[in-house]
């Protein structure tokens, strides 16, 4: 490392776990977008873990007392109108976002759905990333026929149109619930990341330290797991975050189209679906439709913002040169 390089370079990713963690947190805190993303994610995590701290109302029981409903029906009949005593609009503090057509509290639903939505998103992203890494890096490192075979497999899955496949599979597995959605989304999303990680694996493959590892007698799996993967860590994390944005939106979209909505498991996508089915917009109950949409956007944005920090770690060229205060421009 020349004098000049030593002066201006940064240490590489994951030097040791503690140093890596401090580097990562510094990178996040230094970058405003990433800090915001982190805050948003922590908010979601908190809501997912402790929904009862946010709202005490139940999400799957009517929150409108039967007296009120009865009164409402009487009023309607008296006025000669068709009774519409469900889907009440926002009423503070009883139901700030209105109710569903079964008079469930929308806010409560939103809060309780966070857990399943967040965890299933993260689970799918983890699975997808794991498969992409496994296939992409193995293809890059093994080369030859293994690479040809795995690349062919990747290309096939890339080329298959995702949405029709998702719809077909969802229909077949309609009874599978969330597990079915996880399965379906995983197998349709891994190919893109595998391609990317293979490309990055290829660029690392030519590094002499890998040849050195083989020459000293390391086995192939050791080289991949211990020597290659740590070098790709920041890229893998970035792939994970990018996948998460995709999963959040696609899962909600799938469920909006009517797939994967099962009984007791409530997600934001299911809420959107149900509010559409109940024609909430036409009934003037805007927030039942809007709030889960905003929530989905919120989660997607938080992952996207976090990704900014990892982009910077992986590619120092993206770091803006912030001039120190007081130093005049040349």
């Amino acid at each position: 490392m020349t004098a000049l390089d030593a002066s201006i370079s940064r240490p590489p990713a994951s030097s040791s776990s503690r140093e890596a963690l401090s580097r990562v947190s510094k990178a996040i805190l230094r970058n405003r977008k990433a800090t915001l993303g982190l805050v948003m994610f922590l908010v979601l995590l908190f809501v997912a873990l402790f929904p009862d701290l946010i709202t005490s109302k139940p999400w799957n029981e009517s929150v409108v007392s039967s007296d009120v409903v009865a009164q409402c029906q009487q009023d309607a009949v008296a006025a000669g109108k068709v009774p519409n005593c469900a889907q009440f609009g926002p009423k503070w503090p009883d139901f700030p976002l209105g109710t569903t057509q079964l008079n469930y509290d929308v806010l409560s639903q939103l809060v309780h759905a966070t857990r399943v939505t967040l965890f299933s998103t993260v689970l799918i992203s983890l699975l997808v990333t794991a498969i992409s890494v496994l296939i992409g890096v193995t293809a890059a490192y093994a080369g030859g026929r293994t690479d040809s075979g795995l690349s062919l497999l990747t290309d096939v899955f890339l080329v298959i149109p995702a949405l029709p496949l998702l719809i077909v599979l969802s229909t077949y597995l309609a009874s599978g619930g969330i597990a079915a959605i996880v399965f379906v989304m995983t197998i349709t999303s891994w190919a893109f990341g595998a391609r990317q990680l293979r490309a990055q694996g290829l660029s690392i493959r030519s590094k002499e330290f890998l040849e050195a590892a083989r020459i000293r007698g390391e086995r192939r799996w050791y080289v991949i797991l211990v020597e290659i993967l740590p070098n790709m860590l920041s890229l893998i994390v970035a792939a994970f975050l990018g996948t998460s944005v995709y999963v959040v939106a696609t899962m909600a979209g799938l469920q909006f189209l009517g797939f994967g909505n099962v009984g007791d498991t409530l997600t934001w996508g299911t809420m959107i679906y149900q509010s559409q089915q109940a024609m909430s917009l036409e009934s003037g109950n805007l927030w039942w439709l809007l709030s889960p949409i905003i929530a989905v956007a919120f989660m997607g944005t938080s992952f996207a913002l976090l990704n900014y920090a990892f982009d910077e770690i992986a590619n120092p060229a993206l770091r803006k040169n912030r001039r120190r205060r007081g130093k005049p421009a040349a």
Partner: protein, 350 residues
């Protein structure tokens, strides 16, 4: 081939060489499935390395020297020919036990100090792995002791501080020393050094070259020093072997080759080396032209297109190595041997 022991440190008996290649050949297949094009990277190399000897393999790009290194390191399989290490044929080794036996005795040091060490681990990582893989009899405490000792041998002191560093905290010269430490960890008989100083600053090279000589003196390790710089080859090596376009064209004692090069390519190489203390002018016409890419070659000397002394025979018959002087051989039709050395041209080994 007599199978030898499990790799204990008793030196090979008598005059038997430590490593010997017999007509070592490597061709790379070019083009698609049906192409018959083959790149002749190495053809018929007969290389011998003895105990406590540093042999320099000198050549420019396309000479085949790096391919030889990788053949000896078992990265490539030979197209034909044999590699005999302590009497055993290396590429017939199959079991993991046998492979580790070889790798333990013939480690490699690499050219690029910036890409030959994994940047995410401390510099001690490769050394420790070598100890774990090849010296399982050591326990953890002994391994750490050995780690320190090795760092001291290669001059990375204070060892305790140095072995905790990350590669980015070290200079190129220091990283190369780490490479030697990792090679020494296995208690090798022969170190394959692939251009270990080419990417280092000139002022730092001397240190690493001196380290190599020191290791040979103190620990009795042999070395194959691969380089394009014949001046550093002279400094470090006992014997020099010159390669051109896949062939060994000259071999002999280092001082002998420098004092009296017999092959026109060696002469060209020596004339091209700038020596700041000499005002030598360089006007040979062989300066034009470059080493050929040898694809499906015809017989004949591969240097003939650039050779001032080429005769008609040179384009018909491939010259073989023949003795010129004691221990000194050259593959050239027009080179004249010393009196008493006019042996018939055959395929000899030194």
């Amino acid at each position: 081939m007599s199978p030898t022991d499990d790799g204990s440190d008793t030196p090979a008996p008598g005059d038997a060489p430590l490593l010997q290649t017999v007509e070592l050949t490597k061709h790379f297949h070019l083009g698609g499935l049906f192409s018959k094009q083959a790149l002749h990277a190495v053809d018929g190399a007969n290389i011998t390395i003895r105990e406590r000897e540093i042999l320099a393999l000198v050549g420019e790009s396309g000479s085949g020297k790096s391919t030889v290194a990788r053949l000896l390191a078992m990265v490539y399989r030979p197209t034909s020919g044999q590699i005999l290490f302590r009497g055993r044929s290396v590429h017939e080794l199959r079991s993991r036990k046998d492979l580790l036996w070889y790798r333990r005795q013939v480690p490699m040091v690499f050219q690029d100090p910036y890409s030959s060490i994994n940047p995410v681990f401390r510099v001690s990582h490769a050394v420790l792995r070598n100890l774990q893989l090849h010296r399982p009899e050591l326990n953890r405490a002994q391994r750490n002791e050995e780690l320190e000792r090795l760092f001291e041998i290669v001059g990375l002191t204070p060892a305790r501080e140095m072995l905790d560093k990350f590669p980015y905290e070290m200079s190129g010269g220091q990283r190369q020393r780490v490479g030697f430490a990792a090679a020494l960890a296995v208690q090798p008989r022969l170190i394959l050094a692939d251009e270990p100083v080419s990417m280092l600053d000139v002022s730092i090279r001397a240190g690493v070259l001196n380290l190599m000589i020191d290791l040979r003196e103190r620990l009795g390790v042999s070395m194959l020093y691969i380089t394009h710089d014949i001046a550093s080859a002279r400094y470090v090596a006992d014997r020099i072997m010159v390669m051109y376009a896949g062939h060994v064209v000259e071999t002999g004692p280092a001082e002998g080759i420098l004092a009296d090069p017999r092959h026109p390519y060696t002469q060209l190489l020596l004339a091209a080396v700038p020596d700041p203390r000499e005002r030598v002018s360089f006007t040979t016409s062989a300066a034009v032209g470059e080493p050929p890419k040898v694809v499906n070659p015809t017989p004949g000397c591969r240097f003939r297109t650039r050779c001032e002394s080429a005769v008609e025979l040179c384009s018909r018959v491939t010259p073989l190595l023949r003795p010129m002087a004691p221990g000194h051989m050259a593959a050239c039709h027009v080179a004249t041997p010393d009196p008493g050395f006019e042996a018939p041209a055959a395929a000899p080994t030194i």
